[in-house]
Symmetry: C2
Subunit: 183 residues, 2 copies
């Protein structure tokens, strides 16, 4: 028997405020909202992880407005919600135990950023034995500067990271197809 | 006090034989050999992880010639060596315990592939609290096909993944600079 849960990662207002830099996929919120509504309507487990940064100057530090979860992605009563201070949703949180207790063996993942916390969490989830579906159009990244000073655009980073994850760590699907299959 | 160890990932003959597809950075072996020699000469810990694939048809399955570690990267007596069957060098192995027992708080990472097992291990190492330096010119990737059938060249994947890791999970340096600093 297979049980699917949704995992939402770092959908926090710093990204809405533009405090993390230029991003791709402005439709991520709209797509993510449909995904959340579909899972809730189907009675599937929705789990949440947010980032309480411990990096000086980060807009994601606890207590700052940017740390707040975006309105559309806020947990409702009964939904497991965890805080982390590293990229992986599985390190320093009770997420894995909660998923096991609920018999979850398949995770649908959406959130931010594709290349950092989403990728790290997808990789670790698969390596821990969960099947993973990446809701590609409900994720986004920010521009990022490489070690030689080259600035990589969010759209490029997102696209390449999704390709790298695909087939090795997860299946990559859009929200429409995920809702068709699971709700 | 800080202690540095080298972590070599999946330097196995399937990559030498071309069984994993076209790759970038043909100098990775030459650079890696200098890195290993420098660490051994300086008396620093050299640790090894190889991949025993459980995927049907993989050239990295235990018992196949492609599973063997490349000659230049073979462990010598006393060097901790682990086998894994997922991407992360830290899942299902004794690597973390061995590093902690040896007082290691900084890892220099080299190996294959940049985007899969190296990236996953670098991400998890940093998230577990280790400082990480990626020996970029002693790593390589293979071409990879994205979810829409687009083929991404190894060189592009390697470059973008190194950029994504840089600053968030590790410092990116070449072998020359690493040897200057640590040996």
């Amino acid at each position: 028997m297979s049980a699917t849960a949704l995992l939402l990662i770092d959908l926090q207002k710093a990204f809405e405020f533009g405090e993390m830099g230029p991003r791709n996929n402005p439709d991520a919120e709209k797509n993510g909202a449909r995904l959340i509504a579909g899972f809730r309507d189907a009675g599937l487990l929705v789990t949440h992880v947010k980032h309480d940064s411990v990096t000086p100057g980060s807009p994601l530090r606890l207590g700052l407005p940017g740390n707040d979860v975006m309105d559309y992605a806020r947990p409702v009563a009964g939904e497991p919600a965890f805080a982390k201070s590293v990229n992986s949703a599985f390190i320093g949180t009770g997420l894995e135990a909660t998923l096991r207790e609920n018999g979850i063996d398949h995770l649908v993942v959406a959130g931010a950023t594709t290349v950092h916390c989403v990728s790290t969490s997808v990789r670790m989830a698969q390596n821990l034995g969960f099947a993973v579906t990446l809701a590609e159009d409900a994720c986004f990244s920010n521009d990022w500067t490489g070690p030689d000073g080259t600035v990589y655009l969010a759209r490029t980073l997102h696209e390449v990271e999704v390709a790298v994850l695909s087939g090795e760590f997860c299946e990559v699907l859009g929200v429409d197809e995920i809702l068709n299959r699971h709700t």
